[in-house]
């Protein structure tokens, strides 16, 4: 074996672990965790204390009341049935909207990214569609599809679609020309170029947008429920607003936040799996951003 091969072949796994912490000096993990916990305690404690004095708990609620409401929901259920049912409904709407919206976004984004002519034709329409305040469509969808699940899914789809579409479009455009030329020389047909070159190189762009897109799907579902529904977390929050129940609004927010964080974690796992080929430095950078 020639010498340069030997010199430049460190075991890849070891390399990844050794170089990541060396590049950025890290603080010890327990120190960071303790500081974070202290901050939360300080925040909640001062809130609780303030509501005993000058802050009116009727308008601003207090941590103990919010906690009480959460416990209440999970043990006794809400005004509309079990809390799990509400979470399940909202999640189902968000996931359906997310799946349909991102699929449509990826397909159309890649098609338009590769087809210069259609892209040119569609450009003004897409710009206009993106400028529409899409959240207002939720009202229209309630009229079209009724109070059931489909109107919420439709709202989520519309929000997700544009987030994913623009990234897929950009990703399909930024494909390295040399890679495409090389594949053509090696004998790839146009369809093979699409599946073996364009899609994989757009994947990192698309995955980046999926993180944001799931958040949008949740927003879409909740706003849809807010506009008119018979089940879901949005309805719960809307009901809390109607009865001047500030604690209920906070409790709903907390549940939604937890759901969103869980989804984010799942998406990160998926991303790691799909982008295993990338150098470790870039995934370390992604960690730092979160």
């Amino acid at each position: 074996m020639p010498p340069e091969t030997v010199a430049a072949a460190p075991p890849p796994v070891e390399d990844a672990q050794a170089s990541a912490p060396a590049r950025r000096r890290r603080f010890p993990a327990p120190k960071i965790t303790v500081t974070r916990v202290l901050l939360v305690v300080l925040w909640l404690g001062s809130w609780e204390a303030a509501t005993a004095g000058w802050l009116d708990p009727f308008y601003y609620s207090r941590p103990s009341a919010i906690w009480g409401r959460l416990v209440d929901w999970f043990t006794k259920g809400t005004a509309f049935g079990s809390i799990w049912e509400q979470i399940g409904v909202t999640l189902e709407e968000a996931v359906l909207g997310f799946a349909a919206g991102s699929l449509a976004g990826i397909v159309l984004g890649v098609l338009l990214g590769r087809g210069r002519f259609i892209a040119e034709v569609c450009a003004p329409f897409i710009k206009a569609a993106n400028a529409i305040p899409r959240i207002v469509l939720a009202s229209l969808f309630v009229i079209w599809f009724g109070l059931g699940m489909s109107s919420k899914v439709a709202t989520a789809v519309v929000l997700v679609f544009f987030a994913v579409f623009f990234n897929a479009f950009q990703g399909a455009r930024e494909v390295d020309r040399t890679l495409v030329d090389n594949a053509r020389i090696l004998g790839a047909k146009p369809r093979q170029i699409l599946t073996s070159i364009v899609l994989p190189s757009a994947t990192s762009w698309i995955l980046a947008s999926l993180h944001v897109a799931f958040g949008f799907a949740l927003i879409g579902a909740i706003v849809g429920e807010y506009t008119g529904a018979d089940k879901g977390l949005g309805l719960l929050i809307n009901h809390a607003q109607g009865t001047f129940d500030a604690a209920g609004i906070y409790a709903g927010m907390i549940i939604i936040t937890v759901v969103a964080l869980l989804a984010e974690w799942l998406l990160t796992l998926l991303e790691r799996r799909l982008l295993a080929w990338r150098p470790p430095s870039s995934s370390a950078a992604a960690d730092a951003q979160i």
């Binding site: 340069e4 091969t5 072949a9 890679l179 594949a183 073996s196 994947t203 080929w277 990338r278 150098p279």
Partner: protein
Amino acid sequence: MTKRFRSRDGAAHTATRDMSFTVRQGEFVSVVGPTGCGKSTSLSMISGLAQAGEGEVLVHGRPVTGIPDRLGYMFQQDAVLPWRTVLDNVAAGPRYRGAPKRAAREQAADWVARVGLAGFERYYPHQLSGGMRKRVALAQTLINEPSILLMDEPFGALDVQTREHMQDLLLELWSGTGAAVVFVTHDLTEAIALADTVVVMTAAPATVKDVVRVDLARPRRVEEIRLEDAFLGVYRRVWDSLREEVEITRARGARRAA
């Protein structure tokens, strides 16, 4: 086989003008010329990736309209797929041409070994050095058994020792295949050490200025051959021819900068 090459590409910038040279089957031709004289343009016209503006490129006696059959092209930039392992990168050609996955991988494993990367089959390109990635690209190109091999400064980005390794490897893998090679480079030593014929191009728009035969025995060792008297003779001859063109290009650059 003959490959006659005559073309004019006259849109905004005339890269090549009335250029013509012929590469015979089994011949190794190096093309040298000043920076930006249209060497790469010529290669993309031979490969069918770009269209010749006027005139035509003949491969096997027929004009090039699409990408010719059994053509290999090694690019200056890295063209290996970063999301595929070494083995799957090398197997790409046979897979595109419809070989079943299993057969393509077996063939690829053989080529990975021939370029000296045995044991690295499951590595991703980012885990390899620049020289190793070039080996992957070489195996990826040669696995299709091209009868015409185009190389556009393939080893330009490598350090000197790695480059010499790659040159020897290329000669070793090429010998006996009967493939015609067009090798574009800036490096005169590389051009002469590898080739049977050196084509010297003029400053842009490029035409063929000089064709120099390299009568050095094969098989060659790149590190040794450059010390031979015959080599130095050819080197002097090519450099005399190229120097004028380099000076013209340099003067133009200076004028543009002023």
